[in-house]
């Protein structure tokens, strides 16, 4: 499971960077969404991923037996909500940009008109 998730995170990060480097601004937004999801999964994996066992960090004295750590999920939930808000704003921004300039090309972003 860990192995699969690691590959998935890698693929998501890779495609996010690829999309961020494209010239189309809509693809940039897609890249941002991918980047956000890759990081949410990273949080999930980094927070400990042992099924059926307590997921606290090994080596601590006060290990809670029979519980898994709910905190990473709570963090991810918060990060998803924030990411959703920012993505919605970014989409509106790009739409407005398209309405004003009639293009979604990055070249339009440069200063000299």
């Amino acid at each position: 499971m860990l192995f699969l998730l690691a590959i998935l995170i890698g693929v998501l990060y890779g495609s996010a960077v690829y999309l961020l480097l494209r010239r189309n601004i809509f693809k940039l937004i897609l890249g941002l969404i991918f980047l956000g999801h890759a990081t949410n999964l990273l949080l999930f994996v980094a927070g400990g991923l042992t099924s059926g066992k307590p997921a606290f960090i090994r080596g601590l004295q006060d290990e809670a037996i029979g519980m898994s750590d709910p905190l990473p999920q709570a963090l991810i939930l918060t990060a998803i909500v924030i990411g959703l808000g920012v993505t919605a704003f970014a989409l509106t921004l790009v739409y407005r940009f398209y309405k004003v300039t009639k293009t979604v090309d990055f070249d339009e972003l440069s200063e000299n008109e």
Binding site: L20, G36, T39, L42, T78, G85, L93, R96
Partner: protein, 492 residues
């Protein structure tokens, strides 16, 4: 309990302002009173912290490592006070500068949203909560920078939103890795646990991600290109607010994290930070020298001066940090002041471009004086605070025997003077050129009042450099000795 007010009050103000956003006069006067109230609260917190030491609060009575802790030490209280003072000035300035359309479509509530995020970032003692405050602050700033929706603003905001979103991603990833390794989110608890750790590889990896996130937000080399590409696009009152608060939150967080979390390989981090600080100072000021738009010159100066602050961090002695803190306070005031003085130039002659400006000294000595004070303060001319800030930093650098970075700082000071003199010569002294855009523009009295108030504050900061420096020394001691912070939060 006073510690929740810097966060709760802006939230309440924002709610009130959202529902009344069409009543222009109410918005203006309420925001002004609200920001005065906020300043007063921050002042009370600063006095309390200065007398009784670091203050911490556990909302919801969850004990320290489990709940979200609010902590105010001298540094964060000073930053809150300066931020809310800057907001007063911006509130006086805005009615005379920003058009009615923007003012009634949510400008004032957004400013309080921004202040809530900034204060929250200063006051929180929990890394994930810090991320949330950063997002509150950034989301407000996203909307503020795009407010009005002109093509130029949209261009600027797409760059601004993208780079800040990517930086936030680095931030969250670092939190995840750190949590996975150490198993706590409370800053003091993290710092205490790290000091008993024997393997620093994961921690340093996470710290590097944090460092990238914060250096994007505070515009350090090599992550500064977004700032001059976006800061000049919104009306200058908004730019002034950003210049006075946003990048400084990044700097503040960097100070806090360095003090608490740099436990392993301290020498590497010190050299690394000093190198970046030197490069930031120098490259920022060199790029400023080649610009002809007042707003762009000043934007590049923000970068250069963030370099000074980070240099104080790299020195990492109590006097170096104190110098950096004094410099940060000075910079928040002087920088905002130069920006809004630039706004006066715009109202008078309809342009920010030095090629179309000239003869303003002859036309209006008052405007010239109002620009001269903060500009000379930034350049570091004696009775003004910029001089003391640089003096304390350079003194701290010599005491810590960091001669190279100190030499760079002195050299950068010369270049800063050069570009301030450039604006002065071009806009104020040179003869008025033939093709000007507006010949006798009307300067609104509220903008002049705001600029004058801030100029007086800048002068006072220079006059009372001694007492302010004393408070900064207190803050510097707290940063250099993180045990004080850890013990205050964990109640040991």
């Amino acid at each position: 309990m006073i510690l929740v007010l810097p966060v709760i009050l802006p939230l309440l103000f924002m709610v009130v302002l959202i529902f009344t956003r069409r009543w222009l006069i109410f918005q203006q006067s309420f925001s002004l009173l609200a920001s005065i109230g906020l300043t007063f609260t921050s002042l009370l917190i600063l006095l309390d912290v200065y007398q009784n030491g670091i203050m911490s609060l556990q909302p919801g009575t969850w004990e320290a490592p489990f709940g979200i802790t609010l902590v105010a030490d001298t540094f964060s209280a000073m930053m809150m006070l300066t931020t809310s003072f800057v907001s007063i000035v911006v509130m006086i300035y805005s009615p005379g500068f920003i058009d009615r359309e923007r003012q009634t479509s949510g400008y004032y509530p957004l400013v309080f949203g921004l202040l809530m995020g900034v204060n929250g970032a200063f006051i929180t003692g929990d890394i994930f909560n810090l991320y949330v405050w950063y997002e509150v602050m950034l989301t407000s700033s996203f909307v503020l920078i795009a407010l009005g929706g002109s093509a130029e603003q949209l261009r600027g905001s797409i760059k601004y939103v993208t780079i800040n979103f990517v930086a936030s991603i680095f931030f969250v990833a670092a939190i995840g890795i750190l949590y996975g390794q150490v198993g706590t989110l409370n800053m003091a608890d993290l710092a205490a646990k790290m000091r008993t750790w024997d393997d620093g590889s994961y921690i340093n990896g996470a710290l590097m991600l944090f460092f990238i996130a914060f250096s994007v937000k505070s515009a350090l080399v090599p992550f500064f290109f977004w700032l001059p590409a976006s800061y000049h696009t919104p009306p200058i009152a908004i730019t002034a607010l950003f210049a006075g608060t946003l990048t400084k939150v990044g700097v503040y967080t960097m100070f806090r994290f360095y003090s608490l979390f740099v436990v392993f390989d301290q020498q590497f981090w010190q050299i690394f930070i000093l190198t970046l600080a030197g490069l930031t100072m120098f490259i920022g000021v060199l790029m400023a020298a080649s610009q002809f738009d007042i707003r762009k010159i000043l934007s590049f100066h923000i970068i250069s001066q963030v370099g000074y602050m980070v240099m104080g961090l790299g020195i990492f002695t109590a006097s170096g940090i104190a110098g950096a803190i004094y410099f940060t306070i000075h910079n928040m005031l002087s920088k905002t002041n130069t920006f809004i003085a630039g706004g006066l130039v715009y109202q008078r002659s309809g342009s920010y471009d030095l090629k179309y400006l000239g003869g303003l000294y002859k036309a209006s000595p008052l405007l010239a004086l109002l620009f001269f004070i903060p500009a000379m303060s930034l350049a570091g001319i004696p009775p003004l605070p910029g001089f003391f800030g640089k003096f304390f930093l350079i003194k701290g650098g010599f005491e810590a025997q960091q001669y190279f970075i100190t030499a760079v700082a002195i050299l950068t000071g010369l270049f800063t003077l050069f570009s301030m003199v450039k604006i002065w010569n071009e806009a104020y002294w040179k003869k008025e050129p033939e093709e000007v855009q507006i010949r006798n523009g009307k300067v609104h009295p509220s903008t002049i009042t705001a600029t004058a108030i801030l100029a007086v504050a800048v002068i006072l900061l220079g006059v009372f450099a001694g007492p302010v420096m004393e408070i900064s020394m207190d803050a510097g001691e707290q940063i250099v000795n993180p045990e004080m912070y850890i013990n205050a939060v964990l109640g040991r």
